[in-house]
Amino acid sequence: MPLVRKPANHSPGPKPDASKVLGLLASANPVERWAAARDAANVIGGVSAIAAALPTEHDSRVREAMFTSLARHATAESTDAIIGLLRSDSANLRTGALDTLRILVGAAPELLPRLLSDADADVRILSCELARSLPNAEATHLLCVLLAAEREINVCAAAVDVLAEVGSSDALATLNECARRFGDSPFIAFAIEIVIHRITSQSTPARA
């Protein structure tokens, strides 16, 4: 029979050596940096080492592994490091940071209010998208708080887009007020009209 079964030892391998791992994050060899980026998820000092290495990392797969390792640390320090990269001038780093925050935001309730009140409108726009991963009522509340005070129309548009999925009837008053506030912008009025239609088409309000 051409099918073969080779003797193999499938016992888990040894834990990586911390100082070696952190040193290899700066290796010239991308294969070594990839392995180090992954191993750094289980190493003390891994967060600061990855945060320092990410802005100069040019290999997309190594960057991906670095972001995943930051997510696996799941500490305040690692979250701060990811948020810092949301402000980067590099689109690759911003996208990587946003994708990583998306998988963290459900487990860290304090994270999104902080991001939605950030002084940087670009951060607020990106952060609206993160609300999709929250319960309806919580997402609706946070986006309504944002909409009530927001002066940047593009931030409002981002929030309205998310409310099309998560919004409940609790958002109707805020949406109507937002449409009035930006009355000279047919675009936002049209977007809000669609969301209101969606919400009022539901059989009963969503409560979560």
Binding site: M1, P2, L3, V4, R5, K6, A8, N9, H10, S11, P12, G13, K15, P30, V31, R38, D39, A41, S60, R61, E64, A65, T68, A71, R72, A74, R102, I103, L104, G106, R132, P135, N136, A137, E165, V166, S168, H197, R198, S201, Q202, S203, T204, P205, A206, R207, A208
Partner: protein, 282 residues
């Protein structure tokens, strides 16, 4: 299932958009009846009074509702020759690409993870013996791994019930199985001994790395059950376990593109699969 009102157009659209974002599964109006039936079953099971309250329950994943709903939407059972189109893709397209770089007699390694009670890795073995004319020219190694050591014991025993064999022709059952009592069949020893089973958690790099590199990995209907971080870790582990140019086959409702940018999408006549780029260093 009690009577529930039909979903409104907006409710159905909202649900489908959510499912797409969450799992990559695409349902259109053509599947409305199928989806609605599952929604009503789950509304009944969760005692939800309305679609809105059920959708809220789904979105917050109350009592693991996401998993229950996805289970209801996908046929979550294992049997021989499940998703046969992927097996056809393996012998028609994937292996043809893989052997371009191999000499005769070289090893082709295939990993079934998670393998549950063994139907998938044994299906791979049988399919190759029956359908790949070049099967004798290479050393083919099939490994089945699962986190659950109890199912691995069952896989090693190689005993299966009638339901597991439902897709196999009488010819294949007779050729590869011997009947036992109470509508049970034991897979032939030659075949049983040709597949190796091992314990592995696909989110633990230490447990996956030791399995080495594979030409093809079958990892079906498991990633949908992980949270975002674990899914990314699993994707990176699977990437590491593939040879450059190697392929990964997911369940029909799963999409690697929504999990990780590490893979390239390959569309073949019988299946969409994901490939570790051939140029990626190993």
């Amino acid at each position: 299932v009690p009577e529930f009102p039909a979903l409104t157009e907006e409710e159905f659209r909202r649900l489908c958009e959510y499912l797409y974002r969450r799992s990559g599964m695409i349902f259109t109006e053509a599947k409305r009846y199928y989806v609605e039936r599952r929604v009503h079953e789950r509304m009944s099971a969760t005692r939800s009074a309305s679609f809105a309250s059920y959708f809220a329950c789904l979105r917050i994943n109350a009592r693991g509702e996401n998993e229950h709903f996805v289970n209801a939407l996908t046929v979550n059972e294992t049997y021989f020759y499940r998703e046969e189109h992927q097996l056809r893709c393996l012998t028609t397209d994937l292996l043809a690409e893989r052997i371009r770089e191999k000499r005769k007699g070289e090893a082709i390694r295939i990993w079934s993870v998670p393998c549950s009670t063994g139907e998938e890795p044994f299906s791979l073995a049988m399919w190759l013996l029956e359908n790949w004319p070049r099967v004798d020219e290479y050393e083919i190694e099939i490994i089945g791994s699962d986190i659950d050591t109890k199912v691995l014991e069952q896989a090693n025993a190689g005993v299966f019930g009638k339901r597991a064999l439902m897709r196999l022709s009488p010819y294949l059952v007779e050729k590869y199985f011997s009947p036992m009592l109470e509508e049970r069949w034991r897979i032939l020893d030659d075949l049983r001994h040709s597949v190796q089973f091992s314990a592995a958690n696909i989110v633990e790099p230490n447990e996956t790395r030791i399995h080495g590199n594979f030409d093809v990995i079958f990892c079906r209907n498991v990633l949908i059950y992980f949270d975002g971080a674990s899914r990314r870790v699993a994707a990176e582990n699977l990437y590491e376990n593939l040879l450059p140019g190697g392929f990964i086959c997911l369940g029909h409702a799963e999409s690697m593109s929504r999990i990780s940018p590490l893979f390239e999408v390959r569309r073949f006549a019988d299946a969409i699969v994901y490939q570790r780029p051939a140029g990626d260093p190993n």
